[in-house]
């Protein structure tokens, strides 16, 4: 039976269970007596017990069945001609599977064609087993729940508990996914560091993953220029643009703007935050880059590149302005109005009040916001893929080309490459480093912001 049909059938069974439980509960309802549960509660209790066990089973089954099917196929005589485990073998098997499922139009590898019947047969057999087990579970769960529908049975609290379990499971999915990602990142990075010394990777200054000496891969995988480029573009140039503009617009909006102006300007700043990063990317590459290069050449910088750090960094800064502005806005708004009144009543002008009282008071909040913004900027990918260079360069000159960690990860993983060469694995090591840095930045920023909030409660 196909997946959708099976799901429909299970839903039908649940509905039948719902109806019959309800009918049974209605039957024992008596006037002048109060029951802990209404017929609807009994109905849902049975319906949930009918549909959840088979769904849980199918979920687990979909994870293990491909392996079972493949094992069955490998046990057939046709599989004896397969090449030894490796890339080729995996590709033949996956092609055979696609043929069997009708997803592929033709076979490129004759062996795949030969394996197709075995695949189809194994698939059909296991599908049949899954269907049978799922239906049995539905009937067993629903039937058992149905026998519990009695006047004194607290179906209401039981249903509540099941719903709570479902909600918990939903939140666990997100947490488990995160943990899974981190674990796989650490795992792959571990394989990388088994071949390349961590010190070479973290402190080496030569980065050229295209030509790796197999005897000393660490020599050309020194990521320091990437870390520097990331920091230079994301934390220095981008912040040099975003911080003054973001802060000043926040000051204007909280201290000077009338409510009318504020109600116009704030949403417009938020539109800036909604522009897709790829649009910023081509704005940087097509509009800003030529202009900046010409300007740099004009003032006599011969080494000026059209993929300069300045272009990617400043466009990234523009992207971050609304982010800084809204965080600084929050920080300034959290400073009690009595602080401002106190200063004004001393005869301070509004700008003295802002620079001497409000900003110092809001500083921790602003610093926290800037740290969050930096962590966003260094993880930003699209702008640097489009506007930054792919060549690592340890430079202080903003007109020269620089590359970033994210840009290099994209470069390392696009194009063909074996999945266990130092070159590909380096992407995971970079990813892990980036993850650790952004994670730390976020933790520090959040704790700074939280402590600051508490100070004014």
């Amino acid at each position: 039976m196909t997946g959708p049909a099976l799901l429909l059938l299970l839903a039908g069974l649940a509905f039948v269970g719902w109806l019959s439980a309800r009918a049974r509960a209605v039957a024992f309802r008596a006037p002048k007596r109060r029951f802990s549960s209404l017929p609807g509660h009994h109905a849902w209790y049975v319906a949930l017990w009918t549909i959840l066990p088979p769904l849980a089973f199918l979920g687990v089954w979909s994870l293990v069945s491909p392996a079972l099917v493949t094992d069955a196929v490998l046990a057939t005589p046709a599989a004896a001609q397969l090449p030894p485990p490796g890339f080729e073998r995996a590709s033949i098997l996956s092609e055979a599977r696609e043929l069997a499922q009708g997803d592929a139009f033709g076979a490129f590898q004759p062996l795949a064609r030969a394996l197709e019947p075995a695949y189809a047969a194994a698939q059909a057999r296991y599908d049949w087993i899954a269907t049978a087990v799922a239906l049995l579970l539905a009937l067993a769960g629903g039937g058992w729940a149905y026998t519990r529908v009695r006047p004194g049975f607290a179906a209401r609290t039981r249903t509540e508990r099941i719903v709570m379990g479902l909600l918990l499971a939903a939140s666990l999915v997100a947490i488990m996914t995160t943990i899974g990602i981190v674990v796989s990142l650490i795992w792959e990075a571990g394989r990388f560091f088994a071949r390349v010394p961590a010190a070479d990777f973290l402190f080496g200054t030569h980065w050229s993953p295209q030509v790796i000496d197999p005897r000393d891969p660490g020599a050309s995988l020194g990521a320091l220029p990437l870390f520097w480029g990331t920091f230079f573009i994301g934390a220095v140039i981008a912040m040099a643009v975003a911080l003054p503009f973001g802060l000043m617009s926040a000051i204007y909006l909280t201290q000077y703007a009338t409510p009318r102006v504020r109600s116009w300007v704030k949403p417009m700043l938020e539109v800036l935050a909604g522009v897709p990063t790829v649009v910023y990317g081509y704005f940087a590459a097509l509009t800003v880059a030529p202009y900046v290069r010409d300007f740099a050449v004009g003032i006599g910088v011969e080494t000026a590149s059209s993929e300069s750090a300045l272009v990617a960094g400043s466009v990234m800064g523009i992207m971050i302005i609304p982010f800084i502005s809204s965080l600084a806005d929050d920080a300034l708004a959290a400073v009690p109005a009595s602080m401002r009144d106190g200063s004004l009543a001393m005869g301070a002008t509004p700008s003295e009040t802002i620079s001497r009282v409000l900003l110092p008071a809001a500083l921790p909040g602003v610093v926290g916001g800037v740290l969050l913004a930096v962590s966003r900027a260094i993880g930003e990918t699209m702008i640097v893929v489009m506007a930054a260079s792919g060549v690592a360069n340890l430079t202080l000159n903003p007109f020269e080309s620089t590359t970033t960690v994210t840009r290099q990860i994209v470069d390392l993983l696009t194009g063909e490459a074996e999945f266990d060469s130092p070159k590909t694995l380096a992407a995971f090591a970079l990813g892990l480093t980036l993850f650790v840095i952004t994670f730390l930045l976020n933790m520090i920023a959040l704790s700074v912001v939280r402590r600051y909030r508490e100070a004014y409660e």
Partner: protein
């Protein structure tokens, strides 16, 4: 009445918040040598009136003030009046202590710094010390001037705010319920302080506490629904009010 001309004369003052009238035709003189108490039920406009005297209502977007208010005969609402100078001459202490999140020293030094009152470091230190002494806080904080002002107790914070106001050497000090957030002991300290400051500064104080008004002030103004009901010597108002409404309010029969 003293024989000096009044420090502040307010005549026919009206204040609106948007379309709502909060002060209706109020005329009051604030004496140089005495403490003037403003009393009245909540929402009657005491704070609003007080804030017209140093133009703090300018910071409220929809507030509008009309009438004639003079400080030493000078119209404070005239276009020539420098608000910054005015607020340096007419200091204010708020209901809730609001020290800046800076050190005790910096809190007091704030005003002298922005107004350039001290030409040297030692002169500034002198001003800070005198102000803290006048506010009766010096003995308690002299060994920890670099601690944060917000780390003091509520009563100490309020005296710090008074020291901060004194530091710019104002002529008038406006206090809006300065003791309402304080316990009786801290309140007694502030009242003592008001006694000590009387004469040097003209003082106007808003209070909800009848005994406090009777203790600290020489003149009392009773406000009701934005109007000035009665204004006169404190002893007179408390022992022999002319108006029924005043009598009801001070004997607690109001409402």
């Amino acid at each position: 009445m003293s024989n000096h001309p009044p420090k502040i004369t307010a005549t026919h003052v009206n204040v609106w918040y948007g379309a709502k009238k909060a002060i209706d035709d109020v005329s009051i003189d604030i004496d140089q040598d005495s403490v003037t108490a403003l009393i009245g039920p909540s929402g009657c406009g005491k704070s609003t009136f007080l804030r017209t005297l140093n133009r703090m209502n300018d910071t409220v977007a929809n507030a509008r003030v009309q009438g004639d208010i003079r400080l030493d005969g000078e119209d404070i609402y005239s276009p020539d009046m420098d608000v910054v100078q005015l607020r340096a001459r007419v200091g204010m202490v708020f209901q809730k202590p609001n020290p800046f999140p800076k050190s005790i020293y910096e809190n007091v030094a704030y005003g002298p710094r922005i107004h350039g009152l001290a030409s040297s470091r030692s002169e500034l230190e002198g001003i800070v010390q005198t102000s803290l002494k006048r506010a009766g806080l010096w003995e308690e904080v002299k060994d920890r001037l670099s601690d944060s002002g917000t780390a003091l107790s509520g009563g100490q914070q309020q005296r710090l705010c008074i020291a901060r106001a004194i530091a710019v050497d104002p002529e008038v000090i406006l206090m809006d319920e300065p003791c309402s957030a304080l316990d009786p002991i801290a309140t007694a300290k502030i009242e003592e302080l008001i006694h000590a400051l009387k004469g040097r500064y003209a003082i106007a104080i808003v209070t909800h506490n009848m005994q406090q008004a009777a203790r600290v002030s020489q003149r009392t103004a009773f406000f009701h629904l934005g109007q000035l009901v009665e204004y006169g010597a404190t002893t007179e108002i408390f022992t022999n009010p002319r108006e029924e409404r005043t009598r009801d309010y001070i004997t607690g029969r109001y409402g």
